[in-house]
Point group: D2
Chain length 432, copies 4
Amino acid sequence: MSGLDRFVAEREASLVDFRRSLHREPELGFTEYRTASRIAARLHELGYALRVGRQAMVEASMLGRPPASQIEARLDRLQGDATVARWRERMPEGMTAVVGEIRRGPGPVVALRFDMDALPIAEADDATHLPAREGFRSQNPGVHHACGHDGHAAIGIGLAEWLVRDEARWRGTVRLLFQPAEEGGRGALPMAEAGVADDADWLFAAHLGCHLDTGTVAACATHMLYSTKLDATFAGRAAHAGANPELGRNALLAGATATLNLHALPRYAGAATRVNVGKLVAGVGRNVIADHCRMEMEVRGETLEAAEFMAGRARAILESAAHMHEVACEIARVGETCAARCDAEAVALVERVAGRIVGVDRVLHGAPLGGGEDAPFLMRRAQDNGGKACYFLIGSTLADCHHSPHFDFDERSLGIGVKLFAGIVEEATSSP
Amino acid sequence: MSGLDRFVAEREASLVDFRRSLHREPELGFTEYRTASRIAARLHELGYALRVGRQAMVEASMLGRPPASQIEARLDRLQGDATVARWRERMPEGMTAVVGEIRRGPGPVVALRFDMDALPIAEADDATHLPAREGFRSQNPGVHHACGHDGHAAIGIGLAEWLVRDEARWRGTVRLLFQPAEEGGRGALPMAEAGVADDADWLFAAHLGCHLDTGTVAACATHMLYSTKLDATFAGRAAHAGANPELGRNALLAGATATLNLHALPRYAGAATRVNVGKLVAGVGRNVIADHCRMEMEVRGETLEAAEFMAGRARAILESAAHMHEVACEIARVGETCAARCDAEAVALVERVAGRIVGVDRVLHGAPLGGGEDAPFLMRRAQDNGGKACYFLIGSTLADCHHSPHFDFDERSLGIGVKLFAGIVEEATSSP
Amino acid sequence: MSGLDRFVAEREASLVDFRRSLHREPELGFTEYRTASRIAARLHELGYALRVGRQAMVEASMLGRPPASQIEARLDRLQGDATVARWRERMPEGMTAVVGEIRRGPGPVVALRFDMDALPIAEADDATHLPAREGFRSQNPGVHHACGHDGHAAIGIGLAEWLVRDEARWRGTVRLLFQPAEEGGRGALPMAEAGVADDADWLFAAHLGCHLDTGTVAACATHMLYSTKLDATFAGRAAHAGANPELGRNALLAGATATLNLHALPRYAGAATRVNVGKLVAGVGRNVIADHCRMEMEVRGETLEAAEFMAGRARAILESAAHMHEVACEIARVGETCAARCDAEAVALVERVAGRIVGVDRVLHGAPLGGGEDAPFLMRRAQDNGGKACYFLIGSTLADCHHSPHFDFDERSLGIGVKLFAGIVEEATSSP
Amino acid sequence: MSGLDRFVAEREASLVDFRRSLHREPELGFTEYRTASRIAARLHELGYALRVGRQAMVEASMLGRPPASQIEARLDRLQGDATVARWRERMPEGMTAVVGEIRRGPGPVVALRFDMDALPIAEADDATHLPAREGFRSQNPGVHHACGHDGHAAIGIGLAEWLVRDEARWRGTVRLLFQPAEEGGRGALPMAEAGVADDADWLFAAHLGCHLDTGTVAACATHMLYSTKLDATFAGRAAHAGANPELGRNALLAGATATLNLHALPRYAGAATRVNVGKLVAGVGRNVIADHCRMEMEVRGETLEAAEFMAGRARAILESAAHMHEVACEIARVGETCAARCDAEAVALVERVAGRIVGVDRVLHGAPLGGGEDAPFLMRRAQDNGGKACYFLIGSTLADCHHSPHFDFDERSLGIGVKLFAGIVEEATSSP
């Protein structure tokens, strides 16, 4: 048994504990104060040099930041949490990025990205759901780690603990990028703009699950989709629905028409596309013509061309639906993801490493991610400066699909994840 | 100048004060604890016999009662209000009806109805809006007395004060019905079921405004519409909108399709109809197929037949939209209003009285109400037992139309209202 | 028995015959060559001075004229009909109006309007349908006298025959206006523009049926609706629906979206409104993105304001639906009706006359017409020049409602109609 | 120069002539009387044994056959065409399949499929369109060879002429399958059911164009889509849109709602899908509630699972839309295509042959077909009996995309097509 295997075996319980403590307190994008504070504190403890908040992200590039009131509400709820109290000043206005760096003499710079945020989904609460059964279900109502980022963050911390050990064989610089707000494609760009990936010789990111069982690794995620996230707000005119319906201008009819027609956008030959109006809130009461309608939507495309087609057509639909019902419409771009290009050298490196990890029994060259990701914003910065990047998938048998109330992953994949990243660092920095 | 004119002239300021204190703290249907407590306290002070809460309404007939949490939240906000503290025990679980009765020997029973609730509309906050300018704008965010029920309640209290005075000439029994939750057509039925109108020889109700200027009175409201209020809930299946859209069952598409098709219900020849989906809330986030959609809607019809046509077709549309998207649908009837029949004798009485009120310069036989009302549930109980009933309109020049953020009425109509009701009581009880 | 009663009794069979001959060969608006030729020929025979075609209508005011090919097709079908052959030259390009005038010395000018056109509805063909059973069902496939204009024309001819008899007591000038294309509101305006009603002291028009049983007459039609008829054409781009759907621009989706949203236009308080997309034709085949969509629609309103609201909103919806799907849109106004104002003197005259007609057992002051009419274009011209006008209803028990495949009226109303018009002429010209 | 090259060079003009004569008289599926007669006549002349009409197809498997009146109309138009006159008796009721067989001693059976039908699209008529400019534009109004099947048929005849020449080196049996009604996926199944492919050792089919330029060949068509073609008919109730809209049951609203929601079916992860409502015809006139609506639609999917998902959801949408508007709905399956499986041996054979054809400068292993095809019904019959099959693509630079009014292909690809098929026959029958 290698030192790494022994280390992971010994830390399995603490990995699971840390993951579950994050799972119990899931935090939405740009409000990950509890998560980011604990990560910063632990990295600091372990001796990592830190860049936090404004040092790690450019405020102007933060799309889709929640309103100040929501950030405040989160902080209010964390009142009394000593770790948060210590770090919150350095993370103003939702700037919750944490970058930890460690150096062992000259050598390549390896950047590794871990995301931290959860989703606005109510977690299941029945006995079939392990987090409910074992008592680590979300305590933050309506928020659920339904995409496994709690696992990603736990893997990052497990790795950080290993890298400082003498027995870990590597050299050069390792930079751990703990990213907020991956959901909605919002957190990577402001970190990329802050330059955290510019000098990376290697950059790796990964995702748990993705329809691969525990023990499988895919060295290269395919079918990543470009995406554009839009918020549309329709503003009409209220009127009494019984006394004077004709005086109203119905924002809900505009929203309903836009919703149907957005979903009816044509399929795109040769490139997968997606469209979803995922949230719609309109009106105040049944006897008033709805004077407002707020819609959260996204379009995706496998190619940039397809993605731009979808986004362009979507805007025309939103504007026309507003015009149709004589209401005003504001459209805000609140997030974006782009498709990754994995470098062959980096993919080969992941394949080599994965092939020798105990617990990995199947290594695929590529497998589909399906959804969008904003890690490519970081990958591109490295690639534009001559670095090599790769996004890989860590199989983990799931209780239910991503973004569902019953989503849960197999915690055995946490240790595998730590070993994969550790192996990657060793391999990437061992070459002459 | 008559005693009544003098009385009203002297009380004008206190009438306005009381109305403004209600306007400042508007309360939604079945949460009118502050309003109802103050009314109960004042009636008690004046010597009226009281029936409150369960004595004045039948719980089983309360459609569309808000969830317990909302009622509690209102009471929490009123913590520290001594009047509320004194009365709240007698008004359990949203049962905020107050009935005050006073007797002057034998004679007819005259029941008068005043409603008390406000609407879930954010009140305007600019200098063109008098309540904002003069400092009595709503302090209850998102709630606004946008239909003048604050005025109705103030008129009821002004009348109560007059009736106890020696100079007021009347005999028999006067019963003042302070009704909760007129909006949504929810409060009158449980009061009617409690029998508060059963023995009334006369029953009158009125509304301020309704497109008539201050100084105009219409003795009989026409074009009252039957209505049915429905809540529909669509339950689908969430899925990641990028990774597996086909696994989702989209409750929002069901809701949008239903909304469009409900509004597209055919016009009904020979009877005005209405339909409105006034509120729709669906989904959790842009990258998740919306698994729920909640809709608040209503249909109206000038005749019972037209109203039933609309309600029947609406149910078919809701169910079909659900089936179309393979989602479940639950439909709840949460409110109802019916059209009033005004008795000729009662209308004539109002015309006679209005014709001699100082401040009334124009008396119409009839004018349209336009919207729905639930007062007819009380009127019918009186009529079924041989009583005569009438719903009349008290003109009041409006700043903007009913149910709009800028709604405000002309406070000069408060005194006119008190004099009309006082005159009606006198006239109704003076006949041999 | 009066001379008129005797005359009608004797002519009953020939009235029915004439009506049935029209019913058997129904003709769409502006293609009534067979009907108009027979009418012109008979009037000529009886000694009426005739104005036909261009003498009776202004071409530039003909909205919604069918394409030349359709007019030609009708004439082709009538090849060999000697009467048509004699008159068709005087009715070029669909100008099928016929005006017959007769004079008996000085006196008032009385204009009477009769429409002649049928509807593009396939007539029922089962034994429950009297025209099918008795062998006078439509021989013009897809065209049906489903609104009784065959009856109107027959009444007009019956009247023409009476007026030339010595025993008919009247003086002055009677002008019979046989109008094409009432359906769609297209034929009255070009006749009005030709001045045929300008000097009328009295102008009367009537409709059979309208929910009144045989024997009932309503002296004044109410609830006439203003209407605007629009044709919309969406032009998109075809593409293979499998190979390249994204290259298409879908005109059918534009049309479907417009249809739903047009029907969802708000109800209008205080005035009945209507909207109907009655015909839609789109696309060429299932595997091609539809590149064209043609829609025939109309909006109606009880007041001019309501009608203009509907028409304005409808145009915005059509244009926005086109913009939404990136297709072009052309909107053509192809017809219009306006609401009638009946003069009190003329209504009173009809009431007086109806009251003494044998066969009329019930005379109402007013009753709803419900639909639109373009006779008011003629009425207004008379009224603008000081004449008095009235639109009345001749009850006739119906087999099924207007515009349905089983529509048929009670032929006993034909004689009543002749007597009513004859009585009106006598009364209108008898006053000193 | 090989004998084949010389043959093709000499016949180039006659190939083009034959193709243009088909282009000038395009015929819709199951009405290809002129095309099939000429092909049968020529094959007969050349000495092929023929199976025509009922000998080559099973009537019961003909989905989506046009109404008898349409087939008759086509034959009426061909009255006087001597070739048609000679063959039409053998092609009753739209059974226009022609199979020609030729034998050279023992050896493998090679079946080759060529389709013959055109599309209901009006061909472009401007100078930019070569067929218009050079005088071979469609003379059959509204019908256009917009998918190149005229080229397929010409290639088949060119091949037939080559195969009978002595210099053509092959042995065994060659069977040429001239198939009607590929559009709509209707003609292959009834031919397959007649057994024409059952004993084939090899079966090949091909398509011109498909986004590959002249000179390119793709040995295996990928992204073929399964498809299901549905016709839906909604039957409601007519009513006068002004007088009694509420009596109608609106089939057009059902159709419009279904159209929007069909197009809004979710994208399917991992498999391309398509949906198109390509044709919709509803209603009779603007003032009548539309009582019927006929819709032609199709769904497609890259996998059987995806195709079945689409078809299942589509049916639910159609039925629910009908229920929503209280109209009846009939759904007919009128066509179907399935995805092809190309056998590796057959693909390799095509690659080998293409690599040595003069005029082919680029050979791809695979390239997407994009649309649906029904050739796989024939391929499967061969494969189920142990034969090998392949569907390949013959590049041809296009003037505009498939199914567009300006579609036209590069006629240089005709000769290349003949040489490819000739080479395939030689190669397939040369092996020991």
